[in-house]
């Protein structure tokens, strides 16, 4: 009897652990990129020097093969693996002294949890002798790993980590590729200003969660600096479904533009109710919800709504736009990346995949600029980096918040109508735009 009880408890425990480990977060809505036809192969560093000295650089990272970040993290490492494969297939990077650099990846499962991240990064550095590191997915795991990478003087490229705070903690060798959370909506303010300098009254309405609050606080400050009059700044609780009273309040405030939102459900409900109540505003920019393809289900309510995204396959960054902006272009075009990714993994890349790939690309550029794999020289090259890639502009803060991304801008998409069908177009920044912005909002 007692034995049976033990067995039962044992089975329950094992089942519990498996469940706990398998519990995945709802997959973040990945913007579905459209592959445009292009056969142009623009991957740099095509070299072959049979007699040259060859070095293999080890890139270490942890991947969340299990747990809640599994989906995003897997895409991220798929992107990185694709870059490694492409560079190696092309014979590696040839440095100015004739050395050929090839890459190899070492990775372990961090289980999406913080308890083993430091141990695994210590292992990557001391046992696997990783020369460069890529961060785990998520800001939390990245901050744990940064303590280890920093103390061994290793360079870590942080992708999939949007937090500002890690980069204000005195690290010198951690570099961020994503646009930080504090800049999620500032581009939306710039876009508004470029569209209509006469609009002055802005209302912010946002979900009471830390992420949205951090984003709108920064956006509010920015808007005020730009001369906007913030007539309303109000949060709503998670799970709000009726925005009637908020919409009335916005109307009373006389706001001409509305910004904010939180996640998919509340954001799309807010957009729908604003449309149904025919709120007389000219501009609406919301977090997270608009880039999701299912936002189009709102029909006409989606028309004209602007939303930020880290990367979109349709973003039109090109060698030409780099020239126009006075930047150096580096790496493949979006179309080439999407094509190669689809060929390798049989699915469309999302911004996590692009983030993983671009981490490799930035490292490649830094090694090429440094002409060496020496960490100090590569660090100097990263500090100086100012390039345009298919992912966008890459430039790092080198002063008070060392390593914080200051070049990459969020891409702002807008739902527009083409041949009677809703399509997602990139409208900001200008060098990546695929269509002219629709303005004002037609309700």
């Amino acid at each position: 009897m007692r034995r049976k009880l033990y067995i039962l408890i044992g089975i329950l425990l094992v089942a519990g652990m498996v469940l706990a480990a398998c519990g995945k977060a709802t997959p973040t809505s990945a913007p579905a990129p459209k592959a445009s036809e292009s056969s142009q192969n623009n991957v740099p560093a095509k070299t072959s020097a049979p007699s040259a000295k060859e070095v293999t650089v080890t890139i270490g990272f942890t991947q969340s093969k299990t747990g809640k970040f599994n989906e995003e993290s897997t895409r991220q490492s798929d992107g990185l693996d694709l870059w490694i494969k492409q560079v190696n297939d092309q014979g590696g990077i040839k440095l100015s002294d004739g050395t050929v650099v090839k890459f190899k990846a070492v990775s372990y499962d961090d289980e999406s949890s913080g308890d083993k991240v430091q141990q695994l990064y210590t292992r990557l550095i001391t046992k696997d002798k990783a020369d460069f590191l890529i961060s785990p997915y998520s800001s939390g795991l990245t901050s744990s790993a940064a303590i280890i990478s920093e103390q061994y003087g290793k360079i870590m490229l942080a992708t999939g980590a949007a937090s500002d705070s890690i980069f204000k903690k005195g690290y010198q060798r951690v570099y961020q590729l994503y646009t930080p959370a504090s800049h999620y909506l500032t581009g939306a303010v710039d876009l508004l200003q470029s569209l209509d300098p006469n609009v002055k009254k802005v209302a912010f309405i946002y979900e009471n969660s830390k992420f949205s609050t951090a984003v709108v606080k920064a956006a509010k400050e920015y808007a005020e600096k730009k001369g906007y009059d913030v007539v309303m700044f109000e949060g709503y609780d998670k799970g709000t479904t009726d925005f009637g009273s908020f919409i009335n309040k916005i109307q009373d405030s006389g706001a001409e533009a509305v910004m904010g939102g939180g996640h998919f459900q509340d954001g799309s409900t807010l957009a729908r109710q604003i449309y149904e109540k025919k709120l007389p505003i000219k501009y609406l920019a919301l977090l997270v919800a608009p880039p999701d393809p299912s936002f189009a289900d709102l029909g006409d309510a989606a028309l004209g709504v602007v939303g930020p995204s880290q990367w979109e396959a349709t973003a039109n960054y090109s060698p030409e736009s780099a020239k126009a902006a006075g930047l150096t272009w580096f790496g493949p075009t979006s179309a080439d990346f999407v094509k190669a990714y689809k060929a390798a993994y049989n699915e469309d890349p999302d911004y996590h995949s692009a983030g993983g790939y671009v981490a490799g690309l930035v490292l490649q550029k830094a090694i090429m600029d440094a002409g060496s794999v020496d960490p100090d020289k590569v660090k100097a090259a990263l500090d100086k980096m100012d390039i345009l890639t298919f992912f966008g502009h890459i430039k790092f803060n080198t002063a008070d918040a060392h390593g914080l991304q200051i070049g990459h801008e969020m891409i702002y998409i807008q739902w527009q109508k083409k041949d009677g069908k809703l399509v997602k177009e990139v409208v900001w920044p200008k060098e990546g735009a695929t269509a002219a912005p629709l303005y004002p909002l037609k309700h």
Binding site: R3, T122, T126, G140, I147, A214
Partner: protein, 324 residues
């Protein structure tokens, strides 16, 4: 002398095991071994603490990680905001966890069996939800330490070394505590509660107070471990601080080694962590590590349900006297 020495064989064995794990990275001068030993020792400390409640008193707590997380948060706050040093922060974490346990104990230790287990899960979630909305602790995004904090300890490398020594110390303390409880009159009361709470009461054990003290004792060290763990981790957020899975793992480790014994949770935790570490990095198993550790656990629980020490005690009656 020797008779007295052998009286405490179990304590020496337990302390010896902890010392071997603690000395291994020091002798080998290897940072990776230190990191590995750190996770093993923190598992040993957590499992041995929970054993006081689960093994000795017979109360299954599925939410014991709440003390680790809460102590971690309080400790982290004192370092990050109040600028305290790690020693004070560790003390604050331990005291905070003990206070929380005391208050919770008054409320939920009246429950027995499955009801108590359910309540403990609820408490972990409730505290997590509270922290999520508690602005001084940073809400959902938590807090991050400035890298300069480690300078006071001679740089991050030395800080991590120091944290490791503290962890060795804490694990030795929890081992002595566990042994003391197991062999004291107080512990005898707890064992009586485990066998039959009503009978224990009739026999003169003041069960509410004994249970509550067991709960408090089992919470102090996890609170301290939390404080030093998050100091080392450099960042804290609700998701990292209150993982339900760690709670379950603590129970698994105790059951592997043998619940209700001093040496059991130590061997269970060390064995479990060693297995997980091996599977996590072995080229052959690293993609399947969770499935394999699940199967191994199932086999162990099926064939030696009393755990290693329990099995030894059952199989070799002679060792019972000194293997507790």
């Amino acid at each position: 002398m020797s008779k007295k020495f052998f009286q405490h064989t179990s304590l020496w064995l337990s302390l010896g095991t902890v010392l071997v794990i603690g000395l291994w990275p020091i002798v080998t001068h290897n940072a990776l071994n230190r990191e590995t030993a750190f996770t093993v020792l923190s598992a040993v400390a957590l499992a041995s603490s929970l054993n006081i409640l689960l093994g000795y008193t017979g109360y299954v707590s599925f939410g014991h990680v709440v003390f680790f997380g809460f102590g971690g948060y309080v400790g982290f706050y004192t370092i990050n905001v109040l600028g305290w040093n790690i020693w004070m922060a560790m003390l604050a974490g331990g005291i905070a966890a003990a206070l929380l346990a005391y208050l919770l104990g008054v409320a939920i230790l009246r429950l027995r069996g499955a009801y108590f287990a359910l309540a403990t899960i609820g408490i972990n979630e409730a505290v997590r939800a509270f922290i999520n909305n508690f602005a001084p602790f940073g809400g959902p995004t938590g807090m991050t330490l400035n890298f300069k904090v480690y300078k006071a300890y001679g740089g991050a490398m030395h800080a991590l070394q120091l944290v490791f020594y503290i962890m060795v110390g804490l694990t030795l303390i929890v081992t002595i505590l566990s042994y003391w409880v197991r062999t004291s009159k107080f512990g005898l009361g707890l064992l009586a509660i485990r066998e039959d709470e009503d009978a224990a009461e009739v026999m003169g054990v003041i069960t509410p107070s004994a249970k509550n003290w067991a709960f408090v004792l089992s919470a102090i060290i996890p609170g301290m471990v939390g404080a030093i763990f998050f100091f080392k981790n450099g960042t804290i957020e609700p998701g990292l601080a209150f993982p339900l899975r760690t709670s379950i793992e603590m129970i698994v480790m105790i059951m592997l080694g043998g619940q209700g014994t001093v040496l059991g949770p130590i061997l269970g935790a060390a064995g479990y962590q060693a297995m997980r570490d091996y599977l996590l990095v072995s080229p052959l198993f690293k993609n399947l590590q969770l499935a394999i550790s699940g199967i191994l656990l199932l086999l162990i629980v099926l064939f030696i349900p009393r755990g290693l020490v329990g099995w030894l005690r059952q199989r070799y009656p002679k060792v019972r006297r000194w293997l507790i």
